[in-house]
Symmetry: C2
Subunit: 311 residues, 2 copies
């Protein structure tokens, strides 16, 4: 199919169109993804998350520059799980895109996935597949760390960098919120504000005491706005990936992620089948009426409905 062919040639416009199809849950999205599936798997997918204001965009830009300098073909997918915008670039991204246009070496895309059928993880992974098939070698997936989004970025990535800053109790908040649980590497940014060493020490203590499997968690101190610590962060990513490829952990994580992903897609397909079917709306309305008139609990109503629609 022509669009898939253009994606395979690495054409930025074709990739953009493909991602828009994915975002809009268009039927053609399936066709493109199916057509490309034998060419997916070569790119490294690096997630990057952290609280608002920690410096994610700056760090992504600096990482990108470092990767481009050594010949990688980088794509950036910025996922905003809280924004209702879809399909377009956000203001901040336009500025960054202009800055990085440099001969079209970097593909950059914002995805606003709130309300997308099937959720953030599904559309982000589909977009990453398109980019992967297009020949990009590193896909940076950036998302703000709120709510469920960090769990989903973890499922979409080969490794996750969690960014914290020494200010405003990020460390404690991160421990409480579960952000640390998905970290493969921690970057303490804004080292110039002071307190970075203290935060590093606190994190190390926490890992020693509580999170035993994380005892060897790489912690990198950065000052992204001045490019400081970026080579060390790149080295941490390279080292982690090399070690995991050697031990088989890399492929194991891809397998786990793919199992999760297939389950999510299966649930999405079933839901579509259920509620798009003929007469489904009438059956749901009847079940709701039963509950509202106190003849059944919502669970009994739903169970009867499931029996009927799956029959």
């Amino acid at each position: 199919m022509p669009l898939a062919d253009d994606v395979l040639r690495g054409d930025f416009l074709a990739i953009s169109r493909g991602i828009s199809l994915v975002e809009n849950a268009a039927p053609e999205a399936r066709e493109v993804l199916d057509a490309l599936s034998s060419r997916v798997g070569g790119a490294l997918r690096v997630g990057l998350t952290g609280p608002p204001g920690v410096g994610k965009s700056t760090t992504v830009d600096e990482l990108t520059a470092a990767f481009v300098a050594r010949g990688e073909k980088v794509a950036i997918v910025a996922v905003d799980p809280t924004s209702p915008f879809t399909g377009g670039a956000l203001l901040g991204d336009r500025i960054r895109m202009a800055k990085m246009a440099e001969g079209g070496r970097v593909f950059m895309r914002s995805m606003a996935t709130r309300g997308t059928p099937g959720g953030l993880a599904r559309t982000t992974q589909d977009a990453a597949d398109l980019l992967d098939a297009s020949g990009r070698t590193i896909i940076l997936i950036e998302t703000v760390g709120v709510g469920q989004s960090e769990i989903e970025i973890s499922r979409a990535s080969d490794c996750v960098i969690v960014m914290l800053s020494p200010e405003s109790g990020d460390g404690v908040q991160a421990m409480k919120s579960g952000l640390l649980e998905i970290a493969d590497i921690i970057a303490i940014n804004k080292a110039d504000r002071g307190g970075a060493d203290r935060l590093e020490h606190d994190l190390k203590t926490a890992f020693e005491l509580g999170l035993r499997s994380r005892r060897d968690m790489p912690i990198v101190i950065t000052e992204a706005i001045r490019g400081k610590g970026i080579p060390e962060l790149v080295a941490a990513i390279d080292g982690l990936i090399a070690a995991r490829r050697g031990s088989g952990a890399f492929q194991e994580r891809r397998r786990e992620n793919m199992e999760d992903r297939i389950k999510q897609i299966a649930e999405f397909l079933i839901q579509k089948n259920l509620w798009d079917a003929n007469g489904a709306g009438r059956k749901v309305a009847a079940a709701a009426e039963n509950v509202l008139s106190r003849r059944q609990s919502p669970y009994q109503g739903a169970q009867d409905l499931v029996r009927e629609v799956l029959r």
Copy 2:
């Protein structure tokens, strides 16, 4: 069943135990909810949401005091979609609980629903059903307005108060984020900071220009920390509910909410059936292997899986 009987008598400990069962997705939760279903429907469910720091807790406290003063039996359910804590009271709630213990007239519960199977809406609605059956007459559901949570609070409530403050661009942010779309009443809090009239004017203009169906949106200016505007907010709720009961819109919304809820529960039950079934894990693993070895796209793998498990 004994627990259900104790809930019906309005016993706070029994209600608490019931909600914990719901949070933990325990099998007994179903039994309790089924046993109580014929006694659910009498309570008014009022959602209250807005950005962090807008004064939601204070407003809920003041509303509660006003409702208690006129003889209502109030329950507060504070939902934190970003917190991984489950089943326990958060620090802030402890302070508030102590303040409101006043003879056990108010039931207060925090629910941390991140990662709960089936999501925030399902567990919150189940908890509200328990409280409803226990004889509470008003259930205030408070949640921070981030991500998907406000859509879910709207589904769980008879009406939703969206709180904004004049500072920090809450208004613009609310318009952009879709928060206004779920509002039945708007409360502009922190009127003492200045700018409340301006925000009210901006909102009215926006409703006139863009959101036609919201032209008559009640907007109340409050200063909750001093109790100012609370009688007006109570009057706005009473007026809205009375009008909707008169027009049939109240029951219509309950019907829509219940249809959504039954669909959500049906999806939850199907997912449980799918993945808890014998051999499901092996089938998922085989599908993932097919995709990782580039024989199929994730969608093809998921579709085959669905066919097989639903057969």
